[in-house]
């Protein structure tokens, strides 16, 4: 694999989701997910489901599984807090759940308002019974998502993959 390919981690995530037969892609946009959202939107095998708030995606994933399909939720770390009570659905019913979370409020953050939820994100997910993986190295992102998808859909687990700001780049606000 060339260096350029190794750095195209959004393409690796898309390939991992495709290999896992994910059909419904629920999302609240984040800059860090922009390229992945574009790749999924260009894939006829995937249906894009934009949400007004992140917990809608948790419920959507439950409905998809009831109907025999697999879903993923793409969101920013600030959206994790919105999902807490709805995640009880996944825990109680043992629904598979896969989410890919771009981090804010950590490394290099410029906006202090992002920090409280960013810091609380891994702990919040774990308290809500979600297994947390972190994919910091560009070359390992695809494998991490593939493993998380297998854990979710084959072992009926709730799994989050966090993409840290070292990977996606901190938002600079032009400063």
């Amino acid at each position: 694999m060339s260096a350029a390919q190794a750095e195209d981690w959004p393409a690796d995530i898309h390939a991992a989701l495709k290999a896992a037969q994910v059909k419904q892609v629920a999302y609240v946009p984040d800059a860090g997910h922009a390229r992945l959202i574009k790749l999924c939107a260009g894939d006829n095998a995937m249906r894009m489901v934009p949400l007004t708030t992140e917990e809608e995606g948790v419920a959507l994933a439950a409905g998809a599984w009831l109907g025999g399909e697999r879903a993923v939720l793409l969101m920013q770390s600030s959206g994790v807090g919105n999902c807490i009570n709805t995640l009880s659905l996944m825990a109680t019913c043992q629904f598979p759940f896969l989410t890919i979370v771009t981090m804010r409020g950590e490394f290099g953050e410029f906006n202090p308002w992002q920090v409280p939820m960013g810091i609380a994100t891994p702990g919040t997910l774990e308290l809500a019974n979600v297994i947390v993986h972190r994919a910091g190295e560009p070359a390992r992102v695809g494998d991490t998502v593939a493993g998380a998808a297998r854990l979710a859909f084959s072992s009926y687990a709730a799994v989050a993959v966090l993409l840290p700001q070292q990977l996606i780049g901190a938002k600079t606000f032009g400063k």
């Binding site: 917990e55 419920a59 959507l60 409905g63 109907g67 709805t86 109680t92």
Partner: protein
């Protein structure tokens, strides 16, 4: 307060679900769950006991996954109000096979009948129109309930109905509480035994 609402919730739900056949049903938490169960415990019903605000989106995920089946979400006004943005998300997808029917008693029935926003005139049917539902109506008569039962099989959705019911509390009729059981039996009944091997 709005005008007197006289429809009986159990009669409404019984009329919607008579000879339901292969209809897929998502029941929102609280009384709609008991109403649906009063028509018979059915593996093709997914009754929610929690996760308030999520019934419509569970219905959307199911409707998208199963475009050849009709999906009916039966929920309450308080439950829908907690996930009002769901109507906008459904309006983007516009699944022809999805109906969201709200049993609107204008009250939080499980917590002491405190008034919900609909008691103060919030018009859910108008919101659904604004969100792009193919058809949306406020239902006050049993004849309209019966028409809705036919229409929800016509694949011309998404449909929305705000059904104004009397604020009474009929006896609880509960489905199983075990979420994993409810999920697994639904999938087995819909997808077949191979669902457990997926």
């Amino acid at each position: 307060m709005s005008r007197a609402n006289t429809l009986n919730r159990r009669a409404v739900v019984a009329a919607l679900l008579v000879e339901r056949g292969d209809l897929l049903v998502v029941a929102g938490l609280g009384a709609p769950n008991w109403d649906v169960t009063a028509t018979g415990d059915n593996p093709l019903t997914f009754p929610l006991w929690g996760a308030m605000g999520s019934a419509a989106m569970v219905g959307l995920g199911l409707a998208l996954a199963q475009p050849r089946r009709d999906v009916l979400v039966l929920t309450g006004d308080g439950e829908l109000l907690m996930g009002l943005g769901s109507l906008a998300s459904i309006g983007v997808q516009r699944p022809a096979n999805l109906t969201v029917a709200v049993l609107d008693n204008e009250a939080y029935g499980e917590t002491g009948m405190q008034p919900t926003h609909t008691a103060h005139g919030v018009d859910l049917a108008a919101i659904a129109v604004g969100c792009g539902f193919a058809r949306s109506e406020t239902v006050r008569e049993m004849t309209a309930v019966e028409a809705l039962r036919t229409r929800l099989r016509a694949r011309q959705g998404p449909l929305f109905a705000q059904i104004k019911i009397a604020a009474d509390a009929p006896p609880l009729v509960m489905p199983p509480r075990d979420g994993a059981l409810l999920k697994n039996r639904f999938r087995a009944a819909l997808v077949g035994p191979e669902a457990a091997l997926a």
